[in-house]
């Protein structure tokens, strides 16, 4: 069969606009920079203290020696804070034109018209545009950028901030705690069910700029919410760092789904700490797509600490040339009759590497708990690799744990079958890949599924091996 190997086109979202920022910190990280960030944000003293303490911890922690190679990540080469404009745009009219043009290229306005309930779009480090539909406000849902929430909802903020991911959790959580900026803050009151997904767009736009957004979601008793975050980033020649922290609290009988598709450019280190805690009969679902970045290390976790709590992770990772997707999930069963499922789908191509790294813990109190893990990998050629690294910790005999791992290649028979109906080898391969990730895409809101399919098609071009 013909082996067409067209060159990968330039990264699709690789445009970048003129820098309109008003303030940017110099390169490197010092206590002075942290103080300056806090001062510019007019933060309360406790937050500054928290940041400085986190910074100390960041300095003292060694670089992780597992997962991916972080040796080329130079903290002195990173800009830690960029404030894009004097104040936040509250209405679309107030948003600077250049920023609008960037959003236009990402197709945000149309998406908003059709589906968005509220938009909190992060441009560089600060949220510049933020709209909230009236019905959300009427329901009492708080949805704002995290900086504003610190100003306007300080008590609620303080009660939960850093409580599920302390600054001392790991080196990158410490870094985020020291320099965090932006992100989303959501509070859903008791019994309130948000009917449309809440969405935010994130984007790195400045060379050498790290992005350290901080997201905090609190779903009160019997409430439910679906939060969607999508990322694209322009291409730069030097390394960028994205190190976010996402903390979620799901109270008794509550439900939260967090959907991410990250498509960072292939020079971004994507090192993210995501953790949720679930009270009795609460449900947390991580829907996690990793397409871009140079290296992703991300293991969304759920602490199932109330009886009958449920945790689900459904993830897809795609690694091409020069990429390592080290992703997975963690489930901590800390109460009776808790249940979890992990479905991990990964594709490696053109020498890319994917690893599933997961941990399932059953504590002493986890009577009757059960967990189901399914890892499927599709390897596109002989240069690409895949690893499955599951850890299980079991301190209770009355549990059930199932793990299923499957590695497959696009088979000659499947290709022959599809091609015998007139599809080219490329179309046939694409169809098999799309089918492979369909369990993931079908969980996405419509416009994301469309975008995801477009991204995958683009990613798979020239991948026939």
């Amino acid at each position: 069969m013909a082996k067409n190997m067209p060159e990968m086109e330039e990264y699709k979202y690789g445009f970048h606009d003129k820098d309109v920022s008003v303030f940017r910190s110099g390169k490197g990280l010092t206590p002075e920079i942290v103080k300056e960030i806090s001062r510019m944000k007019e933060e309360p003293q406790w937050m500054l203290d928290y940041r400085l303490k986190a910074l100390e911890h960041f300095y003292s922690r060694p670089m992780p020696q597992w997962g991916g190679d972080l040796s080329e990540l130079n903290f002195d080469e990173i800009v830690y804070y960029v404030k894009p404009s004097e104040r936040q745009g509250k209405t679309w009219d107030e948003v600077p034109d250049e920023i609008k043009q960037t959003f236009d290229k990402l197709g945000i306005p149309e998406a908003e018209q059709k589906y968005l309930a509220g938009v909190s779009a992060q441009y560089e480090s600060e949220v510049v545009y933020h709209s909230l539909k009236e019905d959300l406000e009427e329901m009492g849902i708080v949805f704002k950028d995290t900086d504003t929430a610190l100003k306007e909802n300080e008590e609620l903020f303080k009660e939960y901030f850093g409580k599920v991911i302390p600054a001392t959790d790991n080196k990158f959580a410490a870094l985020n705690s020291a320099v965090w900026s932006g992100g989303s803050f959501i509070y859903v009151p008791k019994g309130v069910k948000a009917t449309t997904p809440l969405q935010a767009y994130f984007r790195i736009n400045s060379e050498n700029m790290g992005q350290f957004e901080r997201t905090l979601i609190i779903v009160d008793e019997g409430a439910s919410v679906h939060y969607v975050e999508g990322c694209t980033a322009p291409v730069y020649t030097t390394n960028s760092l994205h190190s976010a922290v996402v903390e979620i609290f799901v109270k008794k009988d509550g439900y939260c789904r967090y959907t991410t598709i990250q498509n960072w450019a292939n020079n971004v280190y994507n090192l993210v700490t995501k953790r949720a805690t679930c009270d009795a009969n609460a449900t947390m679902e991580w829907i996690d797509g990793n397409i871009g970045s140079k290296l992703t290390m991300k293991y969304p976790a759920v602490l199932l600490r109330g009886e009958g709590a449920r945790g689900n992770t459904l993830s897809i990772a795609i690694a091409g040339k020069g990429q390592l997707q080290d992703a997975g999930a963690k489930m901590h069963h800390l109460a009776p009759n808790t249940s979890s499922t992990i479905v991990s789908k990964s594709i490696s191509k053109q020498g890319g590497k994917v690893s599933y790294r997961g941990m399932v813990h059953f504590g002493r109190k986890a009577d009757g708990a059960r967990s189901n893990i399914e890892c499927d990998t599709l390897i596109m050629d002989n240069e690409s690799t895949s690893d499955t690294i599951p850890y299980n910790e079991v301190y209770n005999n009355n549990i059930s744990l199932e793990h299923e791992a499957k590695v497959s290649k696009v088979s000659e028979e499947q290709l022959f079958y599809l091609m015998s109906r007139g599809l080219t080898e490329e179309e046939a391969t694409e169809m098999i890949v799309m089918g492979f990730i369909e369990p993931f895409t079908k969980e996405l809101p419509m416009e994301y599924a469309v975008e995801m399919n477009r991204l995958i098609k683009f990613e798979m071009e020239g991948s026939i091996g």
Partner: protein
């Protein structure tokens, strides 16, 4: 000129350096239904796969022409777009791809860009084909062949045949594993396509399919060759008497392609 012509001349095919077909000659024209019969292991399925271009089969000699065009020079998908169709004995399962999406892509693969089949027209045609083949409409939304019973897979092949409307179809043991009701339905689907623009090569182990689809020509394969051809009465005689009389007539002891005759 009505329909297409598929000419197979002196076709030699090997798999992993073992010669299976040792000079097959067949010509199928639009409007004609040919049946290829023969005991197991005589090269019938190899013939089907080799014509369609399965990468495991190596053509070592001979030619296959479709309306004078060299089929052997074409990729599998080019053969399909040129008008060939292979109904498979063991169709692959494609997870995550619905039968309906696959059908539409297959139809559009034969049409020019910008001239794709309108969605409503497609749905109408698919619904009517599903009804005709007595297939549950749910199948359209099920993943292609995944979890299908043997009978469902075969009906699905005929559904594709009816929707894609090729010039020449090769049906590889489309009757295997079918109960009598399914066999009738599958035959009904194939018969519906019979017209002067459609030629069909039906490969079958059993004569019973030919009770429902009357072939114009019947060929018997043994030892990797067509050893006898005749009209529908040949199939009936095979049904009544088996293959021994042919072997006797031709002095063949072992009919499989293992033997060098």
């Amino acid at each position: 000129m009505a329909g297409s012509t598929l000419e197979i001349k002196n076709l030699h095919v090997s798999i992993e350096d073992k010669e299976i077909l040792k000079g097959v000659n067949l010509t199928i024209k639009g409007g004609e239904f040919h049946a290829v019969m023969g005991p197991n292991g005589t090269g019938k399925s190899t013939l089907a796969s080799a014509i369609m271009g399965h990468p495991k089969y190596e053509v070592t000699d001979g030619s296959v022409l479709l309306d004078g065009e060299d089929v052997l020079e074409m990729e599998v998908d080019e053969r399909a777009r040129a008008g060939l169709f292979l109904g498979m004995q063991y169709p692959s399962e494609i997870s995550g791809v619905t039968t309906s999406d696959f059908l539409r892509s297959s139809i559009n693969a034969r049409r020019e860009e910008g001239d794709e089949i309108p969605l409503m027209k497609f749905i109408k045609e698919m619904d009517s084909a599903l009804d005709y083949l007595e297939i549950d409409k749910n199948m359209a939304q099920r993943y292609l062949n995944e979890g299908f019973s043997g009978g469902e897979k075969k009906r699905n092949e005929i559904l594709q045949l009816m929707m894609i409307k090729p010039e020449i179809a090769i049906l590889d043991e489309i009757d295997s594993g079918l109960d009598i009701d399914a066999l009738k339905v599958v035959s009904k689907g194939i018969n519906k396509l019979r017209d002067e623009n459609f030629g069909c090569l039906i490969i079958t182990h059993y004569q019973r399919l030919l009770n429902y689809i009357t072939p114009d020509v019947v060929h018997v394969m043994m030892q990797g060759r067509v050893v006898k051809s005749g009209g529908p009465e040949l199939a009936q005689r095979l049904e009544a008497e088996g293959y021994d009389w042919i072997k006797e007539e031709l002095g063949i002891e072992d009919e499989t392609q293992e033997q060098n005759a």
